[in-house]
Structures are given as structure tokens and as C-alpha cells.
Amino acid sequence: MKQPEPVQVIKQRRDAALAQLVDDIPYNQFLGVVFERRGDELTATLPYNEALVGNPILPALHGGAVGAFLEIAAQIELAWSIYWPQFEAGATGPRAMPKTIDFTIDYLRSGLPRDAYARAVVNRSGRRYASVHVEAWQDNRQKLFAQATGHFLMPRQEG
């Protein structure tokens, strides 16, 4: 009987695959977006820094930075769900990313000058198109400060 993989091997493989997906994109690094993983569930964090501020008087996060954060969270979630089976099969190396077709952002309250979190759900993923919803919060998971829905063009895959 085949032995299950040791837990450290699995974790290391999944974390490395996720890190490559995220860190390959310079803009993710520019904004400082990081992802945490529980099994296949991802949570994106936008750590607060002064360069994210759009209204220095309030102060509040820039709507564009919030929008970009949600788009990154949605895109990585979709890519992660597309490539999960390949990563589980041991594949490594860069992956083509889904391309945003449209993105609609709902600003529910102003972004406070502290860390923001986001989780995305792939509502539909077809051969060519996908629809992804993403929710973002700060202090309280129940009080979203922004949400968005986006449509993506699926990356071409060999085979």
C-alpha cells in the first residue's frame, strides 16, 4: 500500500507553489500583498503602509489601492483553483494567469489606516470565462469595507 506523503512535504510543496504564483507578479510585491493558506483556502492580506493612503486628512486607504488588492485576491484565488490539481501532481514553474475582463468594486466604508484582508470565491469557472467574487474586511469579518465581482478570461492550457 502507498504511504501518504509526510505532512511537511505536502505543506512545503503547496506553500512554494502559492509563493511562486503570488511573487512572480511584481505589482503584488509593490503593494505588499501576502497570502495565507489553510489547505486550499486562501486569505489575502494588504499590510498597511503610508503609501496606500488616498485621503491623508481622514486618513483613508486609496480606492485604487483597495481595488487593486481585491483584483489581486480574485486573480490569485482563480489561478490557485485552476492550477491546484497540477500543483498536487507535483508540477512546478510559472503559470499563465487569468486576465481580467471587467471588475466592479463596491466601496462600503472607508478603508482605515490598518491591515486589510480579503477572501475570494470562484462562482463559476468554465473553459473560457470565470466569475469571481471577493470580500474585504479590516477589524471585523462581519463588516466588509469593500467587495467586488470580476470576470476573467481563463488562461490557455496545454492538452
Binding site: 512572480d24 507578479i25 511584481p26 505589482y27 503584488n28 510585491q29 509593490f30 503593494l31 503610508e50 503609501a51 496606500l52 493612503v53 488616498g54 485621503n55 491623508p56 486628512i57 483613508a60 486607504l61 486609496h62 480606492g63 485604487g64 489601492a65 481595488g67 487593486a68 488588492f69 483584483e71 489581486i72 510559472p94 499563465a96 494567469m97 486576465k99 481580467t100 475582463i101 471587467d102 471588475f103 466592479t104 468594486i105 463596491d106 466601496y107 472607508s110
Partner: protein, 141 residues
Amino acid sequence: MSEKKAKLARQFIGAIPHSRALEMRIDDVLAGRATLSLPYNERFIGDPETGVLHGGVVTALLDTAMGTAVVSHPQSMGGTATIDLRIDYMRAATPGQRITAKAECYRVTRAVAFVRATAYDEGEEPVASAAGAFTVEGSRP
């Protein structure tokens, strides 16, 4: 743009840390219309294979151009915040080229400003278009 207005515009955009971080520039602003641009920067890349800028950069530029159009509108009394923003990405921006967003605040009510915007690279065809609703602040007694 007159020298005095250009200076004011530079101060306005210079006071927004995120716009400064993205090296945004106000090219023109007049009564509900604003044109803003930002340079190509390798740190803003969204697709490492092609060098195309990340959609989020275009979003940030469009959002800022739209907010600037709102505050420059004759009926606007001061600040604004985005209520909702929809972006359509029509094509990838050409790597190496400057991105320019032209925004128009076409309707202002007592509470809401309606805005549309289009983003271009150095070519003729638009890269992205946006429609949004923004708050109108300071106008209610």
C-alpha cells in the same frame, strides 16, 4: 493649463501618498474633467511574461482621475469618495508606454456624482474604460 493651475494640480496630487507612489501626474483639469497619467514602471507589472502593467495600476489611475474630475466640478463643494467603480479592460497596455486616464464628471446631484473615464496608452485604442458613482461631500446643510 495655466502655470498657477498646474502648480495647484501638482500640489493636489502630491498630497495623495498612493498617487505619489504610483508617480501620477495631473495633465489637465477643468470644471468636471480631468486628465491624469503615470509612467511605465517595472514594479507595476502584472504579467511578468509580457511586461504588461497590472490592471490594479490602471484601476488606481482611473479612480484618481475620476475623483479629481468630481472635486473640480463647479457643483462640488470639497472632498469625494468612491461609492462604486466598474472597470472594463479592453486590451493589454503596451509595455513601456505611459498610461493616461481621461475622466468626465457628467452629472452631479446633491449627494452623488456620476463619472466615466477612459484609459489609453500611447496608442489610439482605449486600454480600459470605467464608470463610477462618487460621493458629493459638504453640500448638505
